[in-house]
Symmetry: none
Subunit: 143 residues, 2 copies
DNA sequence: AACAAAGTGCTTATCGGTGAATATGAGCAT
DNA sequence: ATGCTCATATTCACCGATAAGCACTTTGTT
């Protein structure tokens, strides 16, 4: 189970340290693709297969579904962690997620998310997410 | 059953003594997450697994669900109690809960809560109406 | 062929986490 | 009250993870 929040920085070539605590779980090779809310998603190989399976079940007759599938599959790249614990994020993905220098990586159960630090802060600010809303959502979601 | 109120202090590296009376109940390894009202929650591994199972079932396509999962999982860290009875609180959680030096740990039945001492005092002096709501929500979570 | 751009790999310095040793204090028994 | 034991507080030293800089390789372009 991937959990936690980690701050790191891109080097001049667009490489990023994979937090030590996540490295074992996600594996040496993993998949990075465009994510929702302006971040990138990262899946271990197993979780990626799961995810692909889910995408396959979507009805291709539905335009929304086709768009959804294209979005995730076209953005996907395989990444490999080097001897120093870093991996390269493809140029188009860096651009999509507005990656500059300061990056936040979070673990979200079955995947990781890679955020521009400023965007992550804004996303987490009180106007967007408050603990009270979270508490309300808990009931709405029927948990 | 976790009960009681204990005052302790963070050391220079952000470590905290786990009160002796709680240590047996919560186990050597446990989970700390962002809590409500500016405190941190601590769960034994069993309690946490329950919670994880429920989070896994939430749909990726629903924004509320994403927010909710991100809040709890990105805010979660596994902590281990060392030979001297201390555990490290992750930097982002210390920041979230405004941890400085003086800390209060309370037992709340199935979880512990970790408070900045000053905030705990303020919280206790207020008649805090939302406490009932929170309690209700937590019940529905089955935590 | 020469060059630029992108990717890969190495080296060093620094910082945070970890463990050990010691000090302080509270509670208990004699 | 005195001394003992256990829990907590404080300090220091070490080690591994990360940041940053630089050099080399590969690829593609002119």
């Amino acid at each position: 189970m991937l959990i936690g929040e980690y701050e790191h920085s891109l080097d001049a070539k667009g490489r990023l340290i994979m937090p030590a605590k996540i490295r074992e779980d996600i594996g040496e090779k993993f998949i990075v693709t465009k994510g929702l809310d302006g971040c990138l998603f990262g899946f271990s190989q197993n979780e990626w297969l799961n995810f692909e399976e889910k995408l396959k079940t979507l009805p291709l007759t539905n335009k929304n579904a086709r768009d959804f599938v294209r979005f995730f599959l076209s953005g996907a790249t395989e990444c490999e962690i080097d001897k120093q614990g870093r991996f390269l994020i493809a140029g188009n993905l860096r651009e999509y997620a507005k990656m500059e220098k300061e990056i936040v990586i979070i673990g979200v159960g079955t995947r990781i998310e890679i955020w521009n630090k400023d965007k992550w802060k804004v996303y987490n600010s009180d106007e967007n997410i408050s603990a009270d809303e979270i508490a309300e959502n808990m009931t709405m979601l029927g948990i």
